[in-house]
């Protein structure tokens, strides 16, 4: 994970950058899951109501 050619401060900055990106990506992925789940409900409910008994 640490690059031997970089100073400890530079490695720390690099780890901070990677962490912020990973957190942002995780939040976006969770948000997408929730969005698709909610949209499926609202798109799917009218179709369920149209099913023959």
């Amino acid at each position: 994970m640490n690059d031997p050619l970089l100073t400890p401060e530079q490695n720390a900055e690099r780890r901070r950058n990677l962490k912020s990106r990973n957190l942002a990506l995780g939040a976006v992925l969770i948000g997408l899951v929730v969005l698709f789940y909610v949209v499926t409900i609202f798109k799917g409910v009218p179709l369920l109501n149209q099913r023959p008994i």
Partner: protein, 318 residues
């Protein structure tokens, strides 16, 4: 030293000290990827698309409408990232754009390309699933028009670049209306026309201020090719057409008397500011007039669309 210059220096040091083994994208923070999306443009797209949606009588559930608006916003962000990928060379030369993530070496161009393509394709497919395929097709066309037609073809080769290319910025209300109703509405085309005619005076006011930058970057903006006097005249002519078009929603019966009064008053100010650009000679007064028109043009568009939105959503004049 300016903050962006400091960040650029740190990024370059990091890259150089690693012996070129560190991928440039490893230096990027989340906010750098967010900056690729051109957030200010995205906010305008969201607002105009929302106006197109609200003024359309459609059958889309509000939750699906919100999801569709998100897709339109992400699509606009994807187009912005693609623009930043292609324009990395000219962005590096211009003072206005040299702090962007790619010229600052925080994100490499290939990562910007992948990011832009992923967002574009994802937003188009999602919009098709959430709303309808007409809206998705319009979004796809908008992204293609901005990233390919404007960025790659028009911007570097013709003085009419932002006139024709402005169509992509004018399409969000049409996409929003299509998402709600499943077809292209006349109301949304009026909004398209307003934004299309707004684009030249807005960008040419900026181009007058930054003409040296555009000349350095080799971009054929009107002040560089036709001269400053011709640009000032064109700004006024397009301002006239724009302010007339701002009255169309009321004349077509799509907006009420409150909008009419607001549009008339604010458009008069817009015309006055553009007239000051015509009459002021080159110098500090002209620069000030350009800054005023540029800033006011953003406010004016916001006021017009907010008035339409407020009437459609709360007063029910539509």
């Amino acid at each position: 030293m300016h903050k962006s210059a400091i960040r650029r220096q740190k990024a370059e040091n990091l890259f150089l000290d690693s012996g070129f083994r560190l991928p440039v994208s490893d230096l990027a923070e989340a906010r750098d990827f967010f900056a690729l999306l051109k957030p200010r443009v995205m906010s305008l797209v969201i607002f105009t698309a929302l106006t197109g949606m609200v003024m359309t009588n459609g059958e889309l559930h509000p939750v699906l409408a919100f999801a569709s608006l998100l897709c339109i916003a992400v699509g606009a962000g994807g187009a912005g990232a693609l623009n930043m990928w292609y324009d990395a060379d000219t962005d590096a030369v211009m003072s206005r754009t040299c702090a962007r993530p790619v010229p600052m070496k925080r994100i490499d161009a290939k990562a910007a390309l992948s990011f832009g393509l992923t967002l574009s394709v994802g937003s188009i497919l999602s919009l098709g699933l959430f709303a309808n395929w007409l809206a998705a097709g319009l979004l796809a066309f908008t992204i293609f028009f901005y990233a390919v037609v404007y960025t790659m073809l028009l911007k570097r080769f013709t003085v009419q670049n932002i006139v024709i290319g402005g169509a992509s910025g004018a399409l969000p209300p049409v996409i929003g209306a299509a998402a709600m109703s499943g077809h292209i509405t006349l109301d949304s085309l009026l909004l398209f026309l307003i934004i299309f005619l707004w684009t030249p005076p807005h960008f040419w006011a900026l181009a007058l201020l930054k003409s040296d930058d555009y000349k350095k970057a080799g971009i054929p903006m009107l002040p560089v090719i036709a001269g400053r006097a011709a640009t000032r005249r064109q700004i006024f002519i397009y301002s006239l057409f724009y302010t007339i078009s701002a009255q169309f929603p009321w004349m077509a019966g799509n907006a009420g008397n409150i909008y009419a009064a607001i549009a008339l008053a604010t458009s008069a100010v817009f015309l006055l500011l553009s007239w000051r650009i015509v009459v002021n000679e080159d110098g500090p007064l002209l620069d000030q007039s350009c800054k005023h028109l540029f800033a006011y043009s953003i406010l004016h568009l916001f006021i017009l669309f907010a008035a339409i939105l407020a009437e459609a959503a709360f007063i029910g004049s539509l």
